[in-house]
């Protein structure tokens, strides 16, 4: 052999590899040059015929060219493989994808969770109590005596549970019953919120449902004041409804707080509805009689409580105009939140 044969053979091999139109042609080209009987293999075999002093240089050159050819081969192979893998038709990327449905949390759950999150930032924890209550926890302990007209305003469902129960069983009319249950069980200080269902004997219409949901907040400690109540309520509603809301407190009456207030809020949204203020919650300083009823000393402890309707917050927040939508569970409704 002669060293000058190497370069033309390499050029021929490269040309053939590049010219291969498909993988089959490429494999054939490989066999032609690099196979057991290929031209390049033959050249390698004839290396022994060279003079001894020429062999190292020739060997080096041949190996270098072989590596070069193998690289060219694998690069061409990748090109051809890609070509073969290309879809026959171009993909229409505007076609809709194959969707996985994610379920949605009920809007009332979402609002409740948001409220819980805000309260937890300031050290509140969640508490709970039964929906079927006795008269003590729902009324008497909350300073609403049996013949008080306030009981009239809270038209109550009574449960037909004739049996061992000593007190009449009813569906709680407010989450305030949880206040009593918590205070009976643990000593102050207390810092809880209690979300849950409550019941009133109202016929269903756009703004009423016999069951709806409330959240109650209770804070009992030493030196708790109306100022604290105001500060916390403002914090919570600004977090929930945005920084531009303004809050006002209006004297009101609840049997279990003294003084008592109703809370109105105002925001660009409220003004868009053509109103100055929208009532959102009731609150007040825990009535000393309530403390006495659960065995707390009202000379030592003070506290505040407040409560509001979750539907109402959700309706304001999302612009929902009919409370019944929450309980119909139309999937087109649920999917929007």
């Amino acid at each position: 052999m002669a060293l000058d044969q190497i370069e033309p053979l390499k050029q021929a091999a490269l040309a053939e590899l590049t010219a291969a139109e498909d993988l089959k042609a490429l494999e054939q080209a490989k066999v032609n040059y690099l196979g057991a009987h290929g031209k390049f293999t033959a050249l390698l075999k004839s290396l022994g015929a060279l003079p001894k002093e020429d062999r190292p240089a020739a060997g080096k050159l041949i190996n270098q060219v072989k590596t070069e050819l193998e690289a060219a081969l694998s690069s061409r192979r990748e090109e051809l493989e890609l070509k073969a893998a290309m879809p026959k038709e171009a993909t229409d990327f505007t076609l809709p994808g194959r969707r996985r449905a994610l379920g949605k949390l009920h809007p009332l759950t979402q609002v409740t969770e948001d409220i819980v999150r805000v309260f937890r930032k300031i050290g509140f924890v969640v508490a709970d109590g039964p929906e079927i209550e006795d008269e003590w926890h729902c009324f008497d302990a909350l300073n609403t005596p049996a013949d008080h007209p306030a009981r009239d305003t809270q038209d109550t469902f009574y449960v037909d549970a004739a049996g061992e129960e000593t007190s009449r069983q009813l569906l709680r009319t407010h989450t305030s019953s949880v206040q009593i249950r918590v205070m009976e069980r643990q000593p102050p200080p207390i810092r809880i919120i209690a979300p849950g269902r409550v019941y009133r004997r109202d016929n269903a219409d756009a703004t009423h449902n016999p069951t709806f949901q409330q959240i109650e907040g209770l804070y009992v400690g030493k030196g708790v004041t109306v100022g604290d109540l105001k500060g916390t309520v403002e914090f919570v509603f600004k977090q929930l409804l945005g920084d531009e809301v303004t809050i006002r407190f209006r004297p009101h009456y609840f049997s279990y707080t003294e003084p008592s207030f109703e809370i109105d809020f105002s925001s660009p949204l409220v003004r868009k509805m053509g109103k100055d203020w929208l009532e959102i919650a009731g609150c007040g300083m825990v009535h000393p009689q309530v403390f006495e009823n659960v065995g707390y000393d009202p000379e030592v402890w003070t506290g505040w409580a407040f409560g509001f309707g979750i539907e109402r917050v959700a309706m304001i927040r999302y612009g929902i105009n009919d409370i019944r939508l929450f309980y119909e569970n139309d999937v087109r409704f649920l999917e929007q939140f």
């Binding site: 379920g103 929906e131 604290d228 049997s255 649920l334």
Partner: protein, 807 residues
Amino acid sequence: MKVTLNWLKQYVGFDWTPEELRERLTMLGLEVEGMQKLGGEFEGIVVAEVLTRDKHPNADKLSLCRVADGKGERQIVCGAQNFKPGDKVPLILPGASLPPKPGEKEPFTIKVGKIRGVESHGMLCSPKELGLSDDAQGLLILPPAAKVGQPFAEHLGRAAGDVVYDLEITPNRPDLNSVIGIAREISAVTGNPLRLPDVKLPDGGDRVEKWVAVRLEDPELCARYAARVVRGVRVGPSPDWLRQTLEKVGVRSISNVVDVTNYVMLEIGQPLHAFDYHLLGKGQSGTPTIVVRRAGEGEKFTTLDGQERALTTQNLLIADETKAIALAGVMGGQNTEINEKTVDVLIESAWFKPQNIRATSKRLELRTESSYRFERGADIRICDWASCRAAQLILETAGGELLAGVVDAFPVPPAPKEIQLRHRKTDELLGVAIPPAESVKHLRRLGLEMIKEAADACTVRVPTFRVDLKREADLIEEVARLYGVDKIPATSPRGAIGANVFDAVHDHIAEARRLLTGLGLSEAQGQTLVSSESAKLVTGDVLALENPLSADMNLLRPSLIPGLLDMLRHNLHRKNDDVALFELGRVFRKENGVREQRNVAFALTGRRQPGFWTGDDREATYDIFDLKGILEEFLEQFGVRGANYARRAEAVSPYIESAVIQLGGKLILGEIGQLSPLLAKRCDLRDRVLIAELNLDMLLARRKSEKSFKPLPAFPSIRRDVAMIVPESTPHESVLNTVKKLKPANLERVDLFDVFRGQNIPPGQKSMAYAFTYRNPERTLTDEEVNAAHEKVIEQFRKELQATIRD
């Protein structure tokens, strides 16, 4: 409670605009639910006096005047010539409109404006501008006696404008169900004195005791009864002022005597009743005796509204010695009603026990202005004043002569109530330092008598009209109201960190919700109150309401399933065919009293996947294994293991086929199944409906949410497949149990990958194919040892399951 601006002004002075009054009342705790302006004639036009008249600097024909409008002076530019300083003239104030003229589209509204470079704050009016005559020659000059500042309508004796407020009175403040009560609040805020009407009665003729006696048979239920008699009245229509005042607040005018009783009730809050004296039965003494007594059991009485009412001994009656004449505190009787022939009137002013009036009113479903006030607590000390006031107004509007004195049965006047207020407590509760002198001032202005005053505390005597003031906190509220809640600074949240066992449970429940939405189900929240019809779908003792609103909401839900089915129906009716919902909520049963439990339930119907545009299975609808898969994934992710599913041999409502889900083989966690097609059809559900319900309280109790790391396998596994034909009755679980009993060496897991029936499989049999994965954590297994273990498994299948192994 309705009240008008002008009526309030009779008792207390204030110069707030109608809007300011609304705001002030609201912030005092008297929420204004409605405010209606009654347009009077000549709104914004007052009597003014011309003080000076000079030439307009820039116009010869105009004058520049200073006029007094009753509140101050204003500068007016005027074009008329017929007046001089000292004249009284009508002045229209900026913002007010001239009376509309025929053919005029918009009324002409006066603004502050410059006329030839000089500002005019209003306009002096001609008779034509006021619509009084066609005279446009000059100003209307009023008589010198006209009162400066008086509304022009009032000057003419025409109806003036007024504003009616509809107030929400909280049940603890019965004293605010009266115009004077509300005026007292305004007086407390402004410091302006409360002006009560002066009730001076003429010295009558005959003593009233000769005409009537009063006997209280139950002084607990009726603690005071005052009777007065006016003789010789002429019953007729009320004068305009009385009729108009009542009509503005929505009370129909009936006759002068009846209107007076209503007027005084609205004025001071004390319900009154007037009887025709001559319709009272006389006893042996020859004069009538008013007897306040309990009704006999079953006693019948016809009230003013013509209804005959059956009473019990719990109802209190006003009677004479022959018959009942009024249902005490609620409504008078037809038999003694004031009529056009009435000449002598007996005025009743009494105090009845609130609880008794409330019970009567509730039982008879008869609510009146009178019962409303008595049941909230009337002022026992005001009875005689109210009676005098009524007598005064009857004399004024219906004439007649008042008998001297009063028969006032008031056996035990209540002891005065005293409350101490420690100023330190006010500051501690409100979070603001209020000077003691200020607190004292506020309490005084509310009509509380200060009987002791020290540096650190004061003691007040509570007037009987304030039934709500019982203890110190109540006084602090009064101070807060008058000080102004808006002036109490808000302090940032601070204080203790809360603790409650439920707090963690709340998070567990939130986690359950999050997992289920991740699995593609949307959360529903249904009605808790359901009908007996829908509760029938499930078994067990249901809990009924004693006083349901309607038959379709008379039970507490014993299960979440009926509610979910209602929601499916609701959706299907609206063409939402593909629905996957879960609900997490409480269910109720009658079990040793009541049992309340949290459940979670699932309902699937329609297509399994969101719509897609290719593929054979794109229309596939949910089947039972979709739901079971959701449950399995949910339970595993939630951290509850060991659930097994035992098919029920019988169909149990509401399922056509179902299984009981058990935990640890014993505890019943819930059930899963396919809804009976008959029920589905009844709910208009077209596709298969899969439902399941689990006891969430049990899941919460059994949840293990801790996680721990297991090292990843370092050595390869070896897989061996088995396909076998077994009888149709062989459940998957018994295959697993067979393997479990055998405990093959190095077996890591067994997975079912095919179940097949049909070609080459004999009838009554099925083919099941399992993949066995073997692995040793310490080393690489050899084929030989895996084969040996696997052979034993196959042998066991042959023996125990009568399996034919397919090759």
